[in-house]
């Protein structure tokens, strides 16, 4: 792997909320085309870590490098905060609660980023949004408001919204955890197709089947540290640590 293939590199990330230390020195790198699944019990710090990657949480200390350009964090303050907005615009994020803008229709949600962040012309943004919504199977719903869509549909709009920015990598924060069981499949299918076309993805998830079948790397968090990582094959067939063994046997 050449250096150019390295998209995201987190180094020695610490994060405390008050006196509670949630992340205790996490390092992880994401190469181009990699699909990384982050597993772990609730409270293990996996969502916090993901939110640190695009600075929705500012780590207490550590370094996050995007395409080799590092942002150092010292005492909970990024040394060069100017980079943050630029990094975010190239790093998509899909949330557990979808977080669509409820006062805008599906297509307006998807057009927002290209128009107001990338300064794209409105008609181009509209065309792009239409084709993305078609891709996630929602072309016929594009003028509906989020309140008129099911959870699965909302999450697919949210994925289209992230894709509209043409991100170099997409972060997924438990994208199916807020969905009714029968709606999980439609979202996973879209995510699977993204993985198949070689998108770089970092996915915090409880979907074992997704982690095992779709991802190229699995990372297991335990108590704010990475307890175990490897390819899904190694991990699920021969779990090395007791904690991970226990974790997968409980599911």
């Amino acid at each position: 792997m050449s250096k150019a293939d390295l998209i995201l590199e987190a180094n020695d990330i610490y994060k405390s909320f008050g006196t509670v230390e949630v992340l205790k020195g996490i390092s992880l790198e994401a190469k181009n085309h990699e699909v990384i699944s982050i597993l772990g019990a609730s409270g293990s710090g996996k969502s916090t870590f993901l939110r640190c990657l695009n600075f929705l949480e500012i780590p207490t200390s550590g370094t996050i490098a995007f395409h080799g350009e590092p942002v150092n964090i010292v005492n909970g303050k990024p040394v060069n905060p100017k980079h943050i907005e630029a990094i975010r615009s190239r790093l998509g994020m899909v949330f557990q609660q979808f977080n669509l803008w409820t006062h805008r229709t599906a297509i307006e949600n998807v057009m927002e980023g290209p128009i107001y962040v990338k300064k794209m012309a409105k008609n181009l943004a509209r065309e792009k949004a239409e084709s993305l919504l078609e891709r996630v199977g929602l072309k016929d719903r594009m003028h509906m408001y989020p309140s008129q869509l099911s959870g699965g549909q909302q999450q697919r709009v949210a994925i289209a919204r992230a894709l509209a920015m043409e991100p170099d990598a997409i972060l997924f924060d438990e994208p199916t955890s807020a969905l009714d069981p029968e709606l999980v499949g439609e979202v996973l299918k879209v995510m699977q197709s993204l993985a198949a076309e070689g998108r770089t993805m970092i996915v915090v998830t409880h979907e074992m089947a997704f982690a095992r079948d779709v991802s190229s790397k699995v990372v297991f968090f335990h108590a704010g540290k990475i307890a175990e990582q490897g390819t899904p094959d190694e991990m699920f067939k021969n779990p090395k640590t007791e904690v991970f063994q226990k974790f997968i046997s409980n599911i």
């Binding site: 907005e85 630029a86 994020m93 979808f98 805008r104 962040v117 008129q148």
Partner: protein, 244 residues
């Protein structure tokens, strides 16, 4: 003279008063509407120390009668005439209209700020995060996400405040301004017919009713996104029917 003859004779004066009431209300509400978004952000986000002066101002306005505030500006400014003259501000304070306008702006700004603060604080954090995650800067997030939601949340309360302000503007008549009430008192002093007060009440009632109607239509339009789809169609029909 019976009351009908009085209204026929004096309606131009009442109309003039109505325009004054509308002008006073509209200007104070408008100026406050320009200032209050900035103050509401300070109230919602700034550190307790940074917003201490603002809280003091709001507490003062909310804790004292608006009539006392008007007297403070109108009669109080006379006490400082020499200083105001020195600063070149006496010309402003000499005019009772300016005093009333200033008082009403100070008053409704405080209320509008607090109302809008509630709106700003009620915006779903997740939607703000979604804006951040897309790389939007702070100004864009305010413009595209925070305020569109904040105004929708605050809308009914803001309408209420505007109605209260409109009626409070009758106090301006105490400092010699000829608004609806000022004209009414003037007409009464000439005719000694009490029914003119009834006409004034009807005028205030009409202004309020028209305002409520307009505000309601705007609310329906703003809240399209949270109405079930069949209501959406009804609301649309309702709106287009109104346009005709």
């Amino acid at each position: 003279m019976d009351s009908l003859e009085i209204i026929i004779k004096y309606w131009p004066k009442l109309l003039d008063g109505t325009l004054m009431t509308l002008k006073l209300t509209f200007l104070s509400v408008l100026i406050a509407a320009i200032i209050s978004p900035f103050l509401s952000l300070t109230r919602a986000n700034a550190s307790p120390i940074a917003q201490a002066p603002l809280r003091l101002y709001i507490s003062f306005i909310r804790g004292t009668p608006i009539l006392a505030q008007l007297f403070l500006v109108y009669y109080g400014s006379g006490q400082f005439r020499l200083i105001l003259q020195e600063w070149g501000l006496w010309g402003f304070f000499r005019d009772p209209f300016n005093c009333a306008l200033l008082t009403f702006v100070l008053n409704t700004t405080a209320y509008q700020t607090e109302i809008l603060r509630g709106g700003v604080m009620g915006v779903n954090r997740g939607e703000i995060e979604a804006g951040k995650a897309l790389g939007m800067n702070k100004l864009r997030i305010l413009q595209r996400i925070v305020f569109p939601h904040a105004y929708r949340i605050a809308w009914p309360a803001l309408g209420n405040e505007i109605i209260l302000m409109m009626k409070a503007s009758a106090l301006a008549s105490v400092v010699t301004i000829f608004d609806i009430l000022g004209r009414t008192r003037q007409i009464f002093s000439r005719t000694f017919d009490f029914s003119i007060y009834l006409w004034a009440a009807i005028l205030y009632l009409c202004i309020t009713a028209i305002f409520v109607l307009i505000w309601r239509q705007a609310e329906l339009r703003l809240n399209k996104h949270i109405m079930p789809s069949d209501h959406l169609i009804v609301a649309d029909d309702h709106l287009s029917a109104h346009k005709k």
